[in-house]
Each structure stands twice: as C-alpha cells, then as structure tokens.
C-alpha cells in the first residue's frame, strides 16, 4: 500500500546545510548579515557559490533561501535549486541515520536524485537517535 507526498523543502537544519555544501564542494556556510542590492538585510547562514556576487543566505528559522542573482548576471539561478536539492538529500540522509534506516542513492537521467530508504533492525517504527553536528558530514 502506498501514498505520494509532495514536500516544499525548508532549509532549517544547519548540519544538513553544511553537509549540502560539502556535497557541492563549497566552503561551509558562515553566519553573516548580508545587505543585498535592494538594501534589504538578511541574517543567516551564508553560502558562497563560485561566481555569485551576493551569497545565498539561509534563514534557518523559516527555511527560506534569500539571494539576488540579477537575472543570472550575478550568479547562476539554477544553483539555488541545486543547493536546495543537496540540502533535502542530506537532511533525509540524516533522518534515516537517526532512525537506523538504510539508504541507497540513485542519480536519475534528468538530474534528480532518488534515495531509497529501507528499514533497519528496528523496522520503520524505531525511535530516532540524536545526532551531533559532527556526525552530519
């Protein structure tokens, strides 16, 4: 029996965001307050992809990613999606690890990535174990 859920990913976990940066071969996120071109100010974890004039600022309270790429002139807009993709994958991996589930990762032809999660010794009902930030990488 089965069901399908669509989720709007929210980047609220600093450990998963750091793991996402490692996955994308980026420097770890840094806590910063950034003033964008329109003078809006955002504080949060800043990720600096190559070629970006302004960093992508992650507000871990709301999970929103703030950026200004000026129609692609100040950075590749698609990279914001790739950062969110990497975040979701790493967050799901952390969740699986905390619950003792097994994960297999498959890259799909369209650039999507699929994680196949199967039960560990405790089945799918196991209580989560807490993870420290250092275990996230």
């Amino acid at each position: 029996m089965s069901h399908l859920v669509t989720v709007a990913a929210k980047a609220t976990d600093p450990a998963a965001l750091a793991a996402a940066c490692t996955r994308l071969k980026l420097p770890p996120p840094q806590t910063e307050t950034v003033t964008f071109f329109d003078r809006s100010v955002q504080s949060g974890l800043a990720v600096r992809p190559p070629g970006f004039v302004y960093p992508i600022v992650c507000d871990v309270e709301t999970g929103e990613l703030h950026h200004d790429v000026y129609e692609g002139r100040w950075g590749d807009e698609s990279f914001v999606g790739r950062l969110l993709q990497a975040y979701a994958l790493e967050k799901a991996r952390l969740q699986a690890r905390a619950r003792g589930h097994r994960v297999a990762e498959t890259a799909l032809a369209d650039g999507s990535v699929r994680l196949t999660v199967t039960a560990g010794p405790m089945g799918f009902g196991g209580a989560p174990q807490s993870l420290t930030t250092g275990e996230a990488a």
């Binding site: 029996m1 089965s2 069901h3 399908l4 859920v5 669509t6 989720v7 709007a8 990913a9 929210k10 609220t12 976990d13 999970g63 698609s78 914001v80 999606g81 790739r82 950062l83 969110l84 993709q85 975040y87 979701a88 994958l89 967050k91 799901a92 952390l94 969740q95 619950r99 799909l108 369209d110 650039g111 999507s112 990535v113 699929r114 994680l115 196949t116 999660v117 199967t118 039960a119 799918f124 009902g125 989560p128």
Partner: protein, 64 residues
Amino acid sequence: MSPRIEITVTPAGETSIQTKGFAGPSCEAASKPYEDALGVATAKRRTPEYHAVAPVAQTVEQQA
C-alpha cells in the same frame, strides 16, 4: 515487495516522498518523520496500491 520509502529530489529542489510495499496505513506513519524533517507537505495522494485489499492470512484447521 519489501517496504521502502523513495525520496526524489529534482535539481530545482522539488521533493516527493513515495512509500511502497507497506501494509495498510503504516506507510503514512513511516514517511511522516521524513515529511516533517524536510519541510512542509503541499500535496498528498494515495495511490491505487493504498486502496488495494490486503491479503488476509487464512487459517486451515485440520480436523483430528
């Protein structure tokens, strides 16, 4: 099919979670922690497999 959860994330960050091979509504309990961890569920539908009749174990009593 052994129970499993498939989490697919597109290059744009769009995320879907599908359960397969579960018996009854346990699939929803299994995927809920992943839904909650990843963000906010925006749509949910039960696949035809969800409504399939679960096989019922039949007991054959042997008469002595």
